[in-house]
């Protein structure tokens, strides 16, 4: 084994905010090196420096023991460094081969295209991927697009492969497949850096782990020799307890979804006579392999799409399946959508406004003709404090400047500000680190204790199992089976795949 990549004393600040504070990192050829840390710990920033995307303010980069200065991603590529970003850098209407060609320029277009296609096919066969070089990116699933990204950097002859949160967008099975391939790549001599905040991935697939906290690298150890608690403590700085809960009291039925059907624009039936009910003070978990209609169910409940038939009955309100979003708000439905930047926040507007918008119609923040800015500010300061939203330099700063976990806390602060009767949460902890995830779960449990009916839709089975009072397994747009707490993980897993 030899030292492939070495970063020493890297500092980087963005407009005054220090993202990297003297971080150091080294990775050997032939090993999977995990870079573990919370959201905003500086993992992605550090790797973006290694990939030539960010120019560091201070510090040095060594590749194979030689000091280099990277003028950009192309220079990094010349040194054999390739990075697969969390947000894929692919041109959607282009084919696989075209995208790979774009990143690995050839002297002649048509002969280059031929060569590239041959190289892709060789690479794909080696990795046992199922990718057709002539398929367009926008017809592919997220997992397939990620494979294209990997092929793209490998075709360029990469010796140092950086994967930024590669499993965040994948299902469990897809993630396992990917991590096994990554391990094989390392065994054949590539230095792999795996940026992640998932402990079990680190424990299972990494040879070495470097832990980051607050822009610094705080520890470097062998994951097989360290316990999960030890790793958590190093990443978070303290150990986290599971949220406490009282046994379910069995309240009245608050939400009843009856024979809900939704057919997508392309004719595909996404919800298929879906029925379930949720009682007050109950968390109803919906498990399932992604793409079985969970997203559509969440959208139908919060009113982003209108179901084709069926009813969404709310205790004391009636059927709201045709009601406007404003009406649903009045009925005290809180929405925590999976894609918070698309459906829950206006990134370019201040934190204050993002918090106030849900209650503006109630008159809490002034009349139609005059906004009450000071009431908004007062509530925003309280919400930021109560929900422990970190990284807020001013409540007037743009919401998009918050990291994922803190943006989610902001959404929850807003949605829970009016003591909701029904909560619809879709993958509420997706992309969040351990601490933010615990805070989100704590909020859901608290809402349950207050007597809200909670629909928790998640592809993360651990999340479903630890929080739900009852679990419905969703396949092909319907509930295929229901399980009471404590549920048998194996049985749920079987129900998920049997029908899917």
């Amino acid at each position: 084994m030899s030292l492939a990549l070495q970063l020493v004393g890297i500092r980087k600040s963005f407009d005054g905010a220090l993202a990297l504070d003297g971080a150091s990192f080294e990775s050997q050829a032939g090993e999977v090196h995990a870079l573990l840390g919370e959201n905003g710990a500086g993992k992605s920033s550090l790797m973006n420096v290694a990939a030539g995307l960010y120019a560091p303010d201070a510090g040095s980069i060594f590749i194979d023991g030689v000091a280099v200065s990277l003028s950009g991603p192309a220079a990094a590529r010349q040194h054999g460094i390739g990075m697969v970003h969390q947000h894929f850098k692919l041109v959607k209407p282009f084919t696989v081969a075209e995208n790979v060609l774009l990143a690995n320029r050839q002297p002649h277009f048509s002969s280059g295209m031929r060569d590239i296609r041959a190289t892709i096919e060789k690479q794909v066969a080696e990795l046992k991927f199922a990718i057709d070089p002539d398929r367009r990116i926008d017809t592919m699933t997220v997992a397939e697009q990620q494979q294209v990204e990997i092929v793209k950097v490998l075709v360029g002859g990469v010796r140092i492969l950086i994967l930024d949160e590669p499993t965040a967008v994948l299902t469990d099975a897809e993630a396992i497949g990917l991590l096994e391939i990554v391990q094989r790549l390392a065994r054949s001599g590539t230095a792999v850096v795996l940026v992640t905040h998932k402990l079990h991935e680190v424990k299972r697939y990494a040879d070495v782990v470097t832990i980051m906290r607050g822009g610094k690298t705080v520890a470097r150890l062998d994951p097989r020799q360290s316990s999960a608690a030890q790793l958590t403590e190093l990443t978070v700085g303290q150990t986290l307890a599971l949220p406490e809960r009282t046994p379910h009291r069995g309240g009245p039925t608050r939400l009843n979804v009856g024979a809900l059907t939704y057919t997508r624009g392309d004719g595909r039936s996404m919800l298929n006579n879906l029925s379930f009910y949720v009682r007050a003070g109950e968390i109803y978990g919906i498990a399932g392999v992604s793409g079985n209609g969970q997203a559509e169910l969440a959208e139908a409940l919060i009113g982003a799409i209108e179901s084709s038939s069926g009813e969404i009955w709310l205790d004391g309100v009636g059927d709201i399946s045709r009601a406007s979003q404003a009406k649903r708000r009045e009925a005290a439905i809180a929405a925590i959508p999976a894609d918070r930047y698309a459906y829950a926040l206006a990134g370019s507007l201040p934190i204050t406004d993002n918090l106030a918008v849900a209650q503006i119609r109630s008159g809490r923040y002034g009349s139609l003709i005059r906004l009450d800015r000071s009431a908004m500010r007062r509530d925003a300061v309280a919400a930021v404090r109560d929900y422990d939203v970190q990284g807020v330099r001013s409540i007037n700063q743009k919401a998009s400047l918050l990291s994922g976990g803190n943006a989610q806390k902001l959404v929850i602060a807003r949605e829970f500000s009016r003591a909701p009767e029904v909560v619809v949460a879709h993958s509420p902890s997706r992309g969040l680190d351990a601490r933010a995830c615990a805070a989100v779960h704590q909020s859901l449990i608290e809402a349950r204790e207050r007597g809200a009916a909670i629909v928790l839709i998640s592809e993360d089975l651990d999340e479903i199992l630890s929080l739900s009072d009852r679990i419905g397994v969703m396949t092909r747009g319907a509930i295929a089976g229901e399980f009471a707490r404590p549920a048998d993980r194996q049985a749920i897993g079987r129900a998920m795949v049997d029908h899917g």
Binding site: F14, D15, A19, N39, S69, A74, A335, L345, A346, L368
Partner: protein, 368 residues
């Protein structure tokens, strides 16, 4: 944080061997910039735009000193009256454009809405509606209604059939214009002169001076500025508007009445344009003419852009553009400078201010 403070790639990427000596030009996205610093950037860009314009005028034979004295001349009482009369419709079309742009509706139909503002106002005069004391008020209200109704047609097309409003509003300008010609060559033609104009308005149907050389058209414009400023900055509709333009899907889900707000804001935009038409026919022309709306789309878009869609700034920018217009007319008459030169200066200033936007959003640093 990691995802959000994205960086653009290097502007210049020297070969790896040379990079150690030269370093690289680094572009950071700024998170926020103090308002006074933003003002400094915009001010400096404006100055450089003016400097380029002065240089071009100098090449065309107007010495900077002559230019300075002409500019000073514009601000004398005599010319100031002209500037203020010109400023009123400019401010109103600036408001019209900024209201629509705020909600992401590209209203390029300002001229058509002005035409209908003028037609509706003239109809009140021609059909002698209401007593003389309330006549002007009625004409103004009719003009606002006319402008609003004419813009609601493309709004309907957009909401119902997803017709692109840029094309719809722009082309409806021609429809409005030819309808105006139809009236002026037909039923509304001045029977005394047989020119394609309406008969002159009666004295109580005209916007007159209210003293100190200030035309009452300017009063309408200032009232519009205050109303739009209130609507955008203080009212609940303004709050909704910000969410609709920032993230319409999200706005809808959190219960913002997206469609109603959009329709009302665009109707207000049309009403402002209609009032601009009324001001032009009732103060400058004194009758319905063929050309009272010509060229105002460009000016409206320009003023909205320069003032970043802020109604209060629209008032200042509208005044400055009026100064530019009147100076341009003077230069045209006394120095034989073509009017296209004035338009070119406008364009240079717009580009200069537009480029300051880049410096406000990014920080450029030279690293090592």
């Amino acid at each position: 944080m990691d995802d959000l403070s994205r960086q653009a790639g290097p502007l210049i990427s020297p070969a790896p061997s040379a990079s150690r000596r030269l370093g690289r030009l680094n572009l950071d996205v700024r998170q926020d910039l103090a308002p006074w610093k933003q003002a400094v950037f915009v001010g400096a860009s404006l100055m450089s735009g003016l400097a380029i314009s002065i240089a071009i005028l100098a090449l065309a034979g107007i010495a900077p000193l002559t230019l300075a004295s002409e500019l000073a001349g514009v601000l004398t009482t005599e010319n100031l009256r002209g500037v203020l009369i010109q400023a009123a419709p400019l401010i109103l079309v600036g408001l019209s454009a900024s209201l629509a742009f705020r909600i992401g509706f590209w209203n390029l139909g300002i001229e058509g809405q002005m035409v209908f503002g003028g037609i509706f106002a003239a109809a009140i005069s021609i059909y002698d509606v209401g007593p003389p004391t309330t006549r002007l008020l009625l004409m103004g209200a009719a003009a606002a209604l006319g402008g609003a109704l004419w813009v609601l047609l493309p709004v309907f097309l957009k909401i119902r059939f997803r017709v692109n409003e840029i094309i719809a509003t722009l082309l409806l300008n021609y429809v409005a214009m030819y309808f105006l010609f139809h009236l002026l060559y037909g039923a509304w033609q001045d029977s005394k002169t047989a020119f394609p104009q309406s008969s002159p308005f009666r004295p109580f149907e005209r916007l007159t001076d209210i003293g100190y050389g200030v035309n009452s058209g300017l009063v309408i414009a200032i009232a519009g500025v205050l109303a739009a400023g209130w609507l955008i900055h203080l009212s609940r509709i303004g709050f909704y508007t910000r969410f609709i333009s920032a993230n319409p899907r999200m706005a809808k889900i959190v219960g913002v009445p997206v469609q109603a707000t959009t329709v009302w804001i665009i109707a207000a935009s049309g009403a402002c344009a209609g009032l601009a038409g009324f001001v032009n026919v009732a103060s400058q022309e004194g009758r319905l003419t063929q050309s009272y709306a010509n060229g105002y789309v460009f000016s409206g878009v320009l003023i909205a852009f320069l003032s970043r869609n802020d109604p209060i700034v629209v008032a200042i920018v509208g005044f400055l553009i009026a100064v530019l217009f009147i100076t341009g007319q003077t230069l045209q008459v006394f120095y034989q400078i073509p009017f296209t030169m004035v338009q070119m200066i406008e364009a240079i200033i717009v580009m200069a201010v537009a480029s300051s936007e880049f410096l406000i959003r990014h920080r450029i640093r030279w690293i090592r």
